[in-house]
């Protein structure tokens, strides 16, 4: 088995997409970790659905944790100068209204066309939509951060999702533990491969046919 990137390193790669001044909303799981890897010299304005914008990371000292300042992930954040607070209707006006530049979401499946399935699978019989449907249709750029296959080795990047959809044709970029793939009108373009991985090996774990980018390179970390 070839080594794959761990969750922290996937998050590090994702964070390279955060440009200076970007307004960013992070979903739970791997996406949350990306907050720790904002490239030096760039200022990112983080948004959380439960009503805050412009906050910092988890307090480094436990005594600075404040129950009045916690993100949608249930983890405390640090208030920063310029932070603002608002209610849920305003929070989702920002999301649907195109005021959030980038969202990073986890996924169970992503299709060739950029369809996203990330809120449930049929065997569970119930699931949590939460804010995912609004984020997926509303944010200007949707990045999926996930492992390339399930722990059992099932493929997650498919021609068609067979789990219930979160939104159709919404994903722009897929960052996994072995590849970076861009969703385009022509299909999925393989831009980067994990250290030691070839395009053929990534293709073998991806159902739709990948378009190999002319400047295919190793994932830059």
């Amino acid at each position: 088995m070839k080594p794959r990137l761990d969750r922290q390193t996937i998050a590090l790669r994702v964070a390279k997409e955060f440009y200076d001044g970007a307004v960013v909303n992070l979903g739970g799981g791997i996406p949350t970790l990306a907050a720790n890897f904002v490239p030096e010299g760039r200022t990112v304005i983080f948004h959380t659905e439960n009503g805050a914008l412009g906050f910092g990371g988890v307090p480094s000292n436990e005594k600075d944790e404040n129950p009045y300042f916690m993100g949608a992930n249930g983890v405390p954040f640090t208030p920063l100068p310029g932070m603002c607070l608002f209610h849920h209707a305003d929070s989702f006006a920002m999301i649907r209204g195109g005021h959030i530049d980038i969202t990073v979401l986890g996924a169970l499946q992503v299709s060739e066309k950029g369809d996203l399935a990330n809120w449930t699978f049929p065997e569970r019989g119930i699931g949590n939509i939460g804010g995912a449907m609004d984020l997926a249709i509303g944010c200007n750029r949707v990045i999926v951060a996930m492992e390339h296959t399930t722990p059992k080795g099932q493929l997650k990047i498919l021609k068609e999702c067979n789990y219930p959809l979160t939104a159709s044709q919404c994903v722009d970029l897929i960052v996994t533990d072995i590849a970076v793939i861009q969703v385009t009108r022509e299909g999925l373009v393989l831009k980067e491969v994990g250290p030691g991985w070839t395009d053929k090996e990534v293709q073998a774990l991806t159902e739709p046919e990948l378009i190999i980018s002319g400047d295919l390179k190793e994932i830059e970390l």
Binding site: T48, N50, P67, Y68, I126, S168
Partner: protein, 241 residues
Amino acid sequence: MRSKVFNTFLEAVADIPDGATIMIGGFGHAIDKPQNLIRALKEHGAKNLTIIVNGAGVTGKLGIGSLGGKPFIDEEILLENRQIKKAICSVPASLVMSKPSTFERQYLAGEVELEYVPQGTLAERIRAGGAGLGGFFTPTGVGTLIEKGKEKRIIDGKEMLLEFALRADYSFIKAYRADTMGNLTYCGIMRSFNAVMATAANVSIAEVEQIVKTGELDPEVIVTPGIFLNRIIEIPKERNQ
């Protein structure tokens, strides 16, 4: 003018009949949940209730959204007490798959009803209800199971679904300070669904960390105007989380 200030939580919920629809505020964190009103509703015992809420009691027991993971009261105590008939919510399932919530177990056993609403659509349906609107068109949910049975229209080249407004008989609100007119301020992430739901019920009841004299709140910082509120109660110091 009749005072809005109530002395006990039980008095504040005493007239809630069986079959009522109740909005319960907060996102799901310890500090934004009207925990004392939920506890009083359990004691009061009204049954066959419909709750409109973000999460159907999925964070309190697990201590998700409290300092140090300390458990807190949420809608789950009403579910355990078999008071809930239906939940209209965005997060009905446990956040930890290996620890199913009471709602999840009851739903999978066919004992409670569920209406899935995406979180932003839920907030906007409540806002619309409070604002006297009938509904609105939204792109959220197009191409998903949410669109089932809903009118679809293309607006400005984009497919959209018709979503109807939501109102309730009662709403339970958590706020930071109230004056005796019912004007509310919040603290930190407390606005969430609280400030939206306060507008959309026939009877809105707020539990607050402090009640001050009218005139003591700066009009510039009041978030929820007092005319939206019918009842306010101060949380005893020892119960404040």
